[in-house]
Structures are given as C-alpha cells and as structure tokens.
Symmetry: C2
Subunit: 172 residues, 2 copies
C-alpha cells in the first residue's frame, strides 16, 4: 500500500538519537528529552528510508537533525542532490556549507525571485512536500504541514521540476 | 475522476478578467495582457468552483486577483472563513482588510511562531496546498508549487487542522 501521510507542526521535541546515531544501540542517548514519535521523527524516518537517491529542493535548511540525516544517507551511498535559495544560504546556521564540505552537490539560484519550494523526493517514488522549511524555528514554533505521497502522478512533475532547476542552476 | 493536479510557479501573466468579472462577457477586457491559461488562472478556476464553503489558511495574502476571487465567492453565498498570520496581516498591500470590510470572517494568531500554512479547502472535498503564498511577488517571481488533491485521506486532516486553528484563534 503506497504511503500517504500528513504531518502537522509545531512538533514536540523528542530525542532523535536512536534514528540518527550510526553506531550506538537505540536508547543509548543520555539526554533528558522524552522518547517516542513526533512529526520530526516521522519525517526523519521517511527520509532515512532512502536507498538509492534523494533530491532536496529547499528555500531554507538549517535543522541540525535533518542535516545529519542527509549526511548519513550520503555516507550510506545514497545519491543526494540539493537545490537551495542563494539569499537564505548565506545566513548563519545554514546546513548548506556542512553538506558541501561533506561532498554533497548543492546548486543555488542567481536571480531575483525566491527558490521557495520545500520538497524532497526519496528513491524517485516518494514525494515529501509542504509549507515546512527545514529549520528548528519552523519545526518547533510554526504551524506547518508536510504531505508524504507515494503516487507517480504527483512525484513525476516534482522530479521534472527538480531536474529543470538543477540544469538551470548549473554553474558551468 | 477526482482532481489531481500540480501547478508550478512563477506564472506568466495573463488577463484573468474573464474569470473574475461579474457582468462583462468573456473577452470584453481591453487590457493588453495575453489571453490563455496559466498557473494563476488554473488556481483561480479551482477556487471559483466552490459552491458551499471555502476555508483559507494563509501566511500571506496580498494578490488582488485572488482577493477578488474570494470576495466573489462570498457574494455568491459561499461560506468563506480565513485564518492568517498576525505579523504579515499588518503589512501594506494585504488583502485581509478588504476581506474583513466585505464581511468575511478572519481570525489570526497572537503568539510567537508563524502561522505558515498555505492551503485552502473547497467544499470540504478539494485541498489546495503547497509552498505558494497568495502574493503577486510569489506568483510572478518565485519558484513555487501548488498541489490540488481531491482525496479524503488528505482533505480530512487539513480540515481538522483548520478547525483546530479556527477555535484556537477565537477572539472571544
Ligand atoms: Zn537524546
Ligand atoms: Zn485584462
């Protein structure tokens, strides 16, 4: 049965170490955060299900947990590509510099309008999209939505949009 | 067959008078804009299909065309309710004051986080959601997406989210 899920934020803050730690056994983190599911942990789980490819098209990306998840996928051999907005990328706290230094290809726009999308595509078959920028401010404080859709009728046009932007922002 | 559509912006600017004018016959507008379909006209058409109810939950709403569409529906007897973000509402160019003066109920948040949703629900059965704020800047200059979904599995949670926010922002 294809995934169809809706997440609403703000999310309560729970410990996400069991999802993100590469070595430690689940439950090993000693932080005082409560355990259990939350919209952020559900979003992380969907992203971490990637086995082959992950396209990310985000206006703003500064969440440390989501940054760790993307780097983890990159180290597992998933082909990660990131498109982002030039204006926001320059702000402090952005994850974009970390991703680049880890060897993940990132492209950004040059022109006046905003690259305002907030979507990701997992293994060319699961679309994750909504109002949520990947920032701690948005996750913990804002009213936001994320749809998760495993349906080619929605995934294909978003993948085509990603490829259009990827080519348009080609620095060469 | 249920509606499933994806719109990408920026949109070229075409004349939307034939959709929005209450009296004039189609084609009567003398403006020099090109005729024909564009993502904005498709969005307007979906909204204008409302017969009974329209819930709108928007961070930013300043587009004159979308404002006219909402007022037109209100005059046709559609029950329109609007939720918006307090910070943005105060900016010049917002449509919110016009909607209020037309008699459309509007509620807004009081707290610190942003009400960052960008969705509308037509007749409790069609969800319109994405990255797009209803501003001319976003429509004409930004890379944006809008999904249109006629599927209770997505519509129902968004309707519940609207009702939660509507009650939470109750000024009484
Ligand atoms: Zn922890
Ligand atoms: Zn015209």
């Amino acid at each position: 049965r294809p995934v169809r899920e809706v997440l609403f934020f703000p999310s309560r803050v729970t410990c996400t170490e069991a999802l993100l730690a590469e070595a430690a056994p689940p439950g090993a983190c000693r932080c005082p955060l409560p355990r259990g599911d939350c919209p952020l942990s559900r979003l992380l789980r969907r992203l971490l299900s990637a086995r082959r490819s992950l396209e990310i098209c985000l206006f703003a990306f500064s969440s440390p947990q989501l940054g760790r998840a993307v780097q983890l996928l990159h180290r597992r051999g998933v082909r990660v590509r990131v498109v982002t907005d030039a204006q926001y990328m320059a702000l402090s706290g952005s994850q974009i510099g970390h991703l680049r230094r880890a060897g993940i290809p990132v492209r950004h726009d040059q022109d006046n309008g905003f690259m305002h999308h907030k979507f990701a595509i997992v293994d060319k078959k699961m679309l994750i999209t909504g109002s949520l920028n990947w920032t701690t401010q948005a996750i913990q404080n804002n009213r936001e939505n994320v749809l998760i859709v495993e349906d080619a009728e929605y995934v294909k046009p978003f993948l085509a949009e990603f490829e259009r932007i990827w080519e348009e922002y080609n620095p060469i």
